[in-house]
Amino acid sequence: MFAAWLSGCGPGGDQKEAGTPGAAVAIPVGHVASLTGDTATFGQSTDRGMRMAFEQINALGGVLGRPLDLLSEDDRSITEEARTAAQKLLQRDQVVALLGEIASSRSLAAAPEAQRARVPMISPGSTNPRVTEVGDYVFRACFIDPFQGTVMARFATEELGVKKVAILFDFKQDYSVGLADFFRKTFTSLGGEIVADERYTSGDIEFRAQLTTIRAAKPEAIFVPGYYTELGLIAKQARELGIDVPLLGGDGWDSEKTLEIGGSAVEGYYFSTHYAADSDSPKVQDFVRRYKEKYGATPDAMAALGYDTAGILADALRRAGDTEGAKLRDAIAATQNYEGVTGRISIDPARNARKDAVVLKIEGGKFRFYRSVPAS
């Protein structure tokens, strides 16, 4: 009996729900998310998007005649915790698929676990190319940083006409290091000059030393490919040091907290991301309306990506006709032209999605759609 307790359940657990004879057994889907901590809005938004998607799907009868059950495990925005969270979901809860994470560092920590367990994993928003290189069970529903770095590099040269840019990146995050790299390469190949290259660590609160060095190099813009919490503080301190040039960023900025922390300091800045809430596409508007009704807030890119990722998984489950790992993996890999809120999604042979990007401008204390950039 003790051994039975220890051994938990076997793979592909078929537990009957107690007291409901004839009820369909839910399909457990795991979600590794940063529900608390420095990047809490990423996890929270993504989770909400997924839940909303699953609710809609379940209301229409679920998938394969069974409802989808989202089991979310918090990694507190800490890299090794993502690994532990993934382990718990895979081993303890025996999930059929793992969704998450947003931060590339954390996806990189969780992915080997999914690969080892032969359970498909789909990251809704990790853009560092290394994530899907972990193995053939790891996918993503968003674009990758070689593309995103190019977007902002081109934007800076073509749209803003700047030739001299400083970079301030987060040394501790794979996302930031990678995106800074790609930006650097493209910007210099377009004839631009990186006049200062400074770094910080996520969790830092004091950036005046680096900003002073950057200010002395007289850049025309500063590229800050980090996450929103540090960005807010950086923006404030930059203004206090008299730095008035625009700051540019990536999808790590996509959070209402950027506006909350940065306040008036972030006015006039630009960043690239996955979707714009004020887009006039009817599909987007419908999603935004329903999300607002349910959660009382405008959905950000992570919510939209979560929503789409959940939808892709459900779609793949239907096509696979089974929850078994290899079959589900093949179905996900075969996803073509899935119409999502964040665009038309097709999974390519490298298990990434080719998608358009948008550039948003922070104006009047809000994110406003500025430009759309088609997938290269």
Binding site: D204, I205, A209, T212, A216, G232, K236, E240, E260, I261
Partner: protein, 300 residues
């Protein structure tokens, strides 16, 4: 050159926060020969208290100087009480026990406040309300000083001068100095040692709370674990200046702030935290009494 000047200015503003926290360490060590590991957490509670007070009193939405000072005073009072309570409950019973027991207990209190803070305040970072709208206040060429930096510096200076006056010019201050030189003798002379120690804790905690509010102003992200590193570094500052010496703690704090900023600017910001510990080791090995401390003879 201007850039260097700016860095030094930034460093001094940052260092004054270390100085305020270091004062608490040094005073407590002076009277009790105890390293109050929980002191960094008092700084955190000060910031949190300021956050909640600002929201409760409505200053979060309407920035004003009166708002700032009310929040500052209330927070200082709250932490003074907290400091006294900790001393009463956890340190006083162990005064005659081996030093190790007090050290371990202090670490225990530190962990308790951190983790209790996570439960009470939530682990997510909070953003201290802008009680003063930040803008550039002074400009000389490219060197810019913000109004917030001026407030931080100004408040710190006022508090430090105030402390110096209390320690040097009041009866309580004299009693404090007596207890730190020779507690049993002071007791024999009629000094109420227990009350003096309580008062010392209260003063030190109030200063740490002020540091918490000032950091909330200049670096608005606050969370329950924010006191760990600054606490340790402020301790290094106190040791650097000579533990037990009040002017030492002030100078040590400012010096550490400047060194940290310069290392961050000219070497790499990733070494920022390490430099404090390197200084600590260097001081402990080569000049354990610090810059202003007096040599101590170890009696057998």
């Amino acid at each position: 050159m201007e850039q260097f000047l700016q860095q030094v200015l930034n460093g001094i503003a940052w260092g004054s926060i270390y100085a305020l926290i270091a004062l608490g360490y040094t005073m407590v060590y002076g009277v009790l020969k105890l390293i109050n590991f929980a002191h960094g957490e008092i700084y955190m509670v000060g910031a949190m208290a300021g956050y909640y007070t600002a929201h409760a009193l409505g200053f979060a939405t309407e920035p004003s100087l009166t708002g700032l000072f009310s929040v500052l005073l209330l927070s200082m009072a709250a932490c003074a009480l907290l400091g006294a309570a900790i001393e009463r409950v956890a340190y006083r019973p162990l005064r005659s026990a081996p030093r190790l027991a007090s050290l371990i207990t202090a670490i225990g209190i530190s962990l308790l406040l951190q983790n209790g803070g996570q439960l009470l305040f939530g682990a997510d970072p909070k953003f201290f309300p802008a009680l003063v709208t930040s803008r550039v206040a002074l400009r000389a060429g490219t060197v810019a000083v913000s109004n917030i930096q001026l407030i931080v510096l100004g408040t710190a200076v006022v508090l430090m001068v105030g402390l110096e006056l209390v320690v040097m010019r009041t009866r309580f201050g004299r009693a404090m100095r007596a207890v730190s030189v020779d507690a049993p003798a002071a007791a024999l002379m009629g000094v109420p040692v227990d009350r003096v120690i309580s008062g010392t804790f209260m003063l030190g905690s109030a200063l740490a709370a002020a540091a918490g509010i000032l950091v909330g102003l200049s670096n608005p992200k606050i969370d329950p674990l924010m006191g760990l590193m600054p606490g340790l570094k402020a301790f290094v500052a106190a040791v650097l200046g000579g533990i037990g010496s009040i002017p030492g703690a002030m100078v040590g704090g400012l010096l550490l702030g400047v060194v940290e900023t310069l290392v961050s600017a000219y070497l790499s910001s990733t070494y920022r935290d390490a430099i404090a510990f390197v200084i600590l080791i260097a001081i402990l090995l080569y000049r354990p009494t610090g810059l202003f401390g007096a040599a101590q003879v170890e009696k057998v």
